[in-house]
Symmetry: C2
Subunit: 201 residues, 2 copies
């Protein structure tokens, strides 16, 4: 058990022993349940055929929910981003997990991402807006640019005209609670560039 | 000397001794110069009568610079914010330091800030846009709301009409290099709310 625990990221051999002895003090029922959850982790989970999120069934609860906005699609990198966006409570549309960002150095090209599936969904499901919610990093920016161009090409060849689809990006700027004097140059530059008219006006 | 050094923020008695002994090893000329700079710090600096920034003369270099945009005013809290914005290289207008944010608990009301001076400048200098570049904190938000309202009132009573002045705020959103999965809920909510149309569209 110590060996298994030590193989987890961020847990060294000493922490692993400590965890094992902590588990030793728990009651048997709790341990059986804990063990079962770990054992069945992979067998009980599937990938949603629509959005490619990890779910207990396919289509997943989000894709099946009739209360969610069908005209709004949010493209994210992976499942943790969905968790973060759901936590914010601000997004009530659908998701599409592309499974990473373009990274030529790591051998991740357009074929490794769920882009064909994305194009298919966009052409079939009639979204009004696609939000490219990729990380504000160099790779994320480059990927968003690429995906945005590809979606437009795919739509224009299909419909022989200007696409009615709006492609948007998350706002870049100062995070809540930040301090101007400690903000990095690029963030400040983005915050200035994307400034908005004061709400009292 | 150790006592003086220990009175600086973040420097305890041990660091103070270490610094003092480090200074003891420097050559005399360097020390004289260093001491002179500290001694003359207050005597050589004045507050710019226009923007209220700390400067070596009044009006300061920024207020005197004819190359800077006279139609754009950036309202900040203090001198460190000016340093940060100048570092970003994105802002080429004028500044106004209001000297803090509203904080009833600390006894900082509108009278403690340079708001009357701000109203005067706005009505005299003919700015086209005032950017309220206050920190994205609760106090900063509240202050920006207050200042924005007050500027509008001051302008409308003066000109008996709709003011041509644009009052803007810095963009709120994800800082550069951030990771969606670690972003706090409010920042993500702001990033979603303030989303922009993709540049390739």
């Amino acid at each position: 058990l110590i060996e298994s625990l030590a193989s987890l990221p961020g847990i060294g051999p000493k922490s692993a022993s400590r965890l094992a002895f902590h588990l030793l003090k728990q009651d048997a029922n709790g341990l059986t349940e804990f063990g079962r959850r770990i054992s069945e982790l992979r067998t009980n989970l599937v990938t949603c055929a629509t959005c490619h999120n990890i779910a207990s069934e396919s289509p997943c609860v989000i894709c099946r929910d009739p209360g969610r906005d069908k005209s709004l699609l949010c493209v994210v990198e992976d499942a943790l981003d969905v968790v973060a966006l759901e936590r914010s409570g601000q997004f009530r549309g659908r998701y599409h997990l592309q499974g990473g960002v373009l990274s030529p150095l790591e051998g991740i090209g357009p074929e490794q991402l769920k882009l064909r599936e994305l194009e298919e969904r966009v052409s079939k499901e009639g979204f009004k807006e696609v939000i490219l919610a990729l990380n504000p990093t160099v790779e994320g920016e480059a990927t968003a640019h690429f995906v945005s161009k590809r979606l437009q090409q795919a739509l224009s060849t299909q419909k022989n005209g200007v696409s009615p689809l709006k492609i948007t990006r998350l706002a870049h700027g100062l995070p809540t609670g930040a301090d101007l004097e400690y903000a990095d140059e690029t963030t400040l530059a983005h915050a200035l560039e994307g400034r908005t008219v004061s709400s009292t006006q």
